[in-house]
């Protein structure tokens, strides 16, 4: 219980957004409003959050954040009048001492109607244009153009961990995603159990992953740092623990890291994969598969040269029923309720 020792999240947020405030005024104002309203409510000494798009590590999350504040600011145009006028009306027209004029049969007034329909409509038009542009630009499937070619990562959602395969580097990891800075990352994702939602807030949005199908996610990191990724779609007992550590490093460190995975990793053989795909938490899987050189709750693999990702996707397209013993994520495939350890962090 040492959360109160960390620096205040509220102030941390405010400090780091001060520059933004000056650049984009309306969004800054609304951001200030937000922190003021919400922050004051939780006079708590919140710790600095590392896993949020409010502290982006890349341009995608950055843009999402800016969009968030703009949307807040614009809606304020239509909403602030409510906050301001309701108390005024209540005060002026209260029955006891109100001095207001009483017009019991007043039921419509043209110009007022026009404003009532018109103002929200205009706000929505502006918002819609913004929405259109941003959504088209931030299509998660769109590859990001960088100075260097993108690194491909294949992501497999398992119960309750994520497997990252770097097909071009012949390595794979669980519990840790390391990417070089200023390098586009091009992810292709699937699941080998139920549907999940892959999410790295500080770098990109989330995207669903589904068995037998693939989705894509592209992003690039603009500064080095560390953050956390997770699954946001409930998948059973170990769900709350299905997080992974994300590190954005410079290219030297990245190469060194790849080297390290190569040298310490165990082979991602079918046998090891089937072990990994059982209903276990990271910690449990680490205990079963990892060697002493690997960091806590992290497993390193080398690739045996098979098309593992493709096989995982095709598992569901064989045209034959998939027996429950061959379906990762079921109790029959591995681990009943009683055998799941480490659910409590």
């Amino acid at each position: 219980m040492d959360w109160y020792l960390k620096p205040s999240g509220f102030f941390a947020l405010k400090r780091m957004d001060l520059q933004r405030c000056k650049k984009v005024c309306p969004s800054g104002v609304s951001y200030y409003l937000l922190t003021l309203i919400l922050g004051c409510l939780f006079l708590s000494q919140a710790a600095s959050a590392s896993e949020t798009f409010l502290m982006p590590l890349g341009p995608v999350a950055e843009e999402q954040k800016v969009h968030f504040f703009w949307a807040m600011a614009l809606t304020m145009v239509a909403i602030l009048p409510v906050f301001i006028l309701v108390p005024v009306i209540l005060f002026k027209y209260r029955r006891k001492k109100g001095r207001g004029f009483y017009a019991p049969k007043w039921e419509t007034y043209g110009p007022l109607e026009l404003i009532m329909w018109g103002v929200p409509f205009l706000v929505i038009i502006v918002l819609s244009v913004m929405l259109w542009r941003a959504t088209a630009r931030l299509d998660p499937y769109k590859e990001i153009q960088g100075v260097v070619p993108p690194i491909k990562v294949q992501v497999v959602g398992l119960d309750w961990k994520w497997l990252f395969i770097y097909p071009e580097l012949d390595i794979a990891t669980v519990g840790e995603l390391v990417v070089p800075v200023h390098t586009p990352i091009s992810m292709i994702l699937t699941s080998d159990t139920v549907m999940q939602s892959f999410f790295i807030s500080a770098l990109a949005g989330q995207i669903y992953v589904m068995p037998g199908m693939t989705t894509q996610l592209n992003f690039i990191a603009s500064k080095t740092g560390e953050t956390e990724g997770e699954n946001t779609q409930y998948t059973g007992d170990g769900f709350a623990d299905q997080k992974f550590n994300v590190q954005v490093v410079n290219s030297d460190n990245f190469d060194r890291w790849v080297q390290r995975v190569h040298s310490t990793g165990i082979e991602l053989s079918t046998e090891n994969y089937n072990r990994l795909a059982q209903r276990t938490t990271k910690k449990q899987a680490h205990g079963e598969l990892a060697t002493a050189q690997m960091p806590e709750k992290v497993i390193y693999f080398t690739l045996p040269g098979t098309q593992l990702f493709h096989e995982i996707v095709m598992r569901y397209h064989s045209g034959k029923p998939l027996s429950i013993e061959d379906q990762p994520g079921t109790e029959k495939f591995g681990r009943g309720k009683e055998d799941v350890e480490g659910v409590q962090p």
């Binding site: 397209h317 064989s318 045209g319 034959k320």
Partner: protein, 209 residues
């Protein structure tokens, strides 16, 4: 209460001065609303079928499974029964003899049973070719939709039986007449759905499956 409209509405079967909830116009309109809800129910299942036309998962598809002749026969049976139920409606509304009314109801019932028999035969043929719902997403969608219609027809047949019994026990009073009007609407409605089924499920299946 729209008393003014009740004498002209499709539910008109003589002038009845009963309590609000028994106004024929209200009862018939209520049934229309129900049918529209049912229409959406069917529509949703149709949509699922359309999205799953390709999901045969290596199993048998429409080309192997559907029988043109049987489909045509079913279609004509159901369409004709829609006519006969209509004739029954006319005899009832114009107060012709009870016997002629019952005659047309029984004919409709027989046509309905004929339709169901053929349909069940079709299903068993499909099953013998490996076309069972557990084989693929496509077949699941097929067996979620066509038997749903069949179930409605079965229900309609049951309703007819009950109604025939009521004609004898309760007489051709307002209550029974109103029930028959609703049954006739229901039966016509099922024929409309069938147009969708042969066009989309069968023909569409042949073309895209």
């Amino acid at each position: 209460m729209n008393l003014s409209s009740s004498s002209k509405s499709p539910g008109s079967i003589g002038n009845a001065h009963e309590a609000a909830h028994r106004d024929p116009a209200v009862v018939i309109f209520g049934f229309w609303v129900f049918m529209m809800s049912d229409l959406i129910f069917f529509g949703v299942v149709f949509a699922i079928y359309i999205t799953m036309v390709g999901a045969t998962a290596g199993g048998p598809g429409p080309k192997e499974l559907f029988d043109f002749g049987s489909l045509f026969a079913q279609t004509m049976l159901l369409l004709t029964s829609s006519l006969t139920v209509g004739i029954a409606t006319v005899t009832m509304r114009h107060e012709r003899s009870r016997a002629s009314f019952l005659f047309w109801v029984v004919i409709t019932l027989l046509l309905g049973i004929g339709f169901l028999t053929l349909e069940l035969y079709d299903f068993s043929e499909m099953a013998s070719k490996g076309g069972v719902p557990s084989r693929s997403g496509y077949l699941s969608a097929f067996f979620g939709l066509v038997p749903l219609h069949g179930l409605h027809v079965t229900f309609g047949c049951l309703w007819m039986l009950v109604l025939i019994a009521q004609v004898f026990t309760m007489g051709m009073g307002q209550v029974v007449k109103l029930r028959f009007l609703r049954l006739a609407l229901f039966w016509h409605f099922l024929d409309l759905i069938w147009i969708g089924i042969f066009s989309i499920v069968y023909f569409g299946g042949w073309v895209y499956g």
